[in-house]
């Protein structure tokens, strides 16, 4: 089964082509990595998948749904962790969880999810007082609270210390083992090598390479990434 199908996705901002004829598919239960430098078109692709932006061309299906036409149904089956998205400073962890749980028909048990993300002790702490890693874990928890079939995690581990990053990797693996398809947007090649079944490397709005990290990475994924993305268009 295909969890995400993107075909010929194109998005322009004025004269600038942000995403240029991008195609890929993600199988159900897969962890798929979307890599690329800043401005490569990753976030625009994510926005189109989540129904936040309208593509100029192309066809997208997420869990069999069209992000524009079936927007409301998609919101029930797609969990999104957005880059730099915050919460009100004075909202506590448990309040945020209860609020987001109220949006969904069959939410996950908030206490269980808090325990899984090691946030139980912080349940009455206000958002402002959380550390970077705790904020990040909370945003993952909120992305999962609606029991999504597909989760998009955008720069999940940016700003985390090495230990917190490893814990988060374990978490992503656990989530996948619960049957959730995951699309991971990351800058860390080690993370992609470790977690992703397949990766797409984007450059200048196009898919420059697509395959398993082992097949792409010679000698390492990072070398392959640098080779593919360091050239400039003439």
């Amino acid at each position: 089964m295909t969890a995400i199908a993107v075909e010929g996705l194109t998005k322009r901002y004025g004269a600038k082509v942000a995403v240029d004829d991008v195609s890929f598919t993600v199988a159900e239960g897969e962890i798929f990595g979307l890599l690329g430098r800043n401005g490569a078109g990753k976030s625009t692709t994510v926005d189109c998948l989540a129904g936040l932006r309208v593509p100029d061309q192309g066809r997208i299906r997420v869990a069999g749904l069209d992000p524009r036409r079936d927007r409301q149904r998609l919101r029930h089956v797609l969990g999104v962790q957005l880059q730099e998205s915050q919460l009100p400073d004075k909202l506590t962890v448990a309040e945020a969880m209860r609020l987001y749980a109220s949006f969904y028909r069959h939410p996950e048990d908030t206490e269980r999810l808090l325990a899984q993300l090691d946030l139980t002790e912080k349940r009455n702490t206000r958002y402002r007082k959380l550390s970077g890693g705790q904020k990040q874990r909370l945003s993952v928890a909120l992305a999962l609270i609606g029991r999504p079939r597909v989760a998009i995690l955008d720069e999940l581990t940016t700003g985390l210390d090495p230990v917190a990053r490893r814990d988060t990797w374990q978490l992503v693996d656990d989530i996948r083992n619960q049957g959730v398809t995951i699309m991971l947007i990351t800058h860390f090649m080690e993370e992609a090598e470790r977690l992703c079944d397949r990766v797409a490397i984007m450059h200048d709005g196009r898919v420059a390479a697509l395959g398993t990290p082992a097949a792409l990475g010679r000698p390492t994924l990072e070398d392959a990434f640098v080779a593919l993305t360091s050239w400039r268009k003439p």
């Binding site: 129904g51 919101r75 029930h76 797609l78 915050q86 004075k90 909202l91 609020l99 949006f103 609606g146």
Partner: protein, 235 residues
Amino acid sequence: MKMLTLTEARLLAREPLALFWGLAFPMALLAVMGVSAGRVDGVSLVTIYEPIVIAFVSVVFGIQGLPVQVAAYRERRILRRLATTPAGPARVVGAQLIVSLIVVLAATAGVLAVGRLGFGVPLPRQPVGFALVVVLAATATLALGLLIGALAPTARSAGAAGTVLFFPLMYFAGLWTPQMSETTRHIGQYTPLGAAAQALRDSMAGGWPHPAAIAVLGGCTLACAAAATRFFRWD
């Protein structure tokens, strides 16, 4: 929606500064006028100021509170995040409007209570007309606040715009010069807060608010709400 509204109410309850300016300060201001026992042309200061203070409450929540909230939610990408949930971003803005309206009504009741119990100012003699004007003044300022929140790119600029607008709006309500010249009063009738203060004064004294005042407040509500809807940026 219920959960969002409760959450917004809880968050407001955690903002001591907003509650001070919107709830405590208006009552304290009226009490100061009452204690000073001043009179202008035979009318006590507290009677003159009560409608002005009630208009002030709407401005605090509508023009100063709401735009900053809305712009901050956009700036912090909270609206964008909500757009990916089944709730959508519009409902949280709706929740903020509901909470603001309820607090404006509560603060108005508080001001009336201070005037009545503290200084013997009679309750509005035309209660239906008075209630109508209070609600319309609140919707007019909230709609204007929503428009500021829709256009301001950041919470800071929304706050600045609210503060800049505060002075002319409250000037025509008579906050600084309750006894206005004929010309000023004439111009003021066509501003939302000038119209609100005059209509509140009329209905407190027992008359129906002037239709022109109702038209100004209703028109401001509709025009600003329409413009805010048209120009609202979710991210």
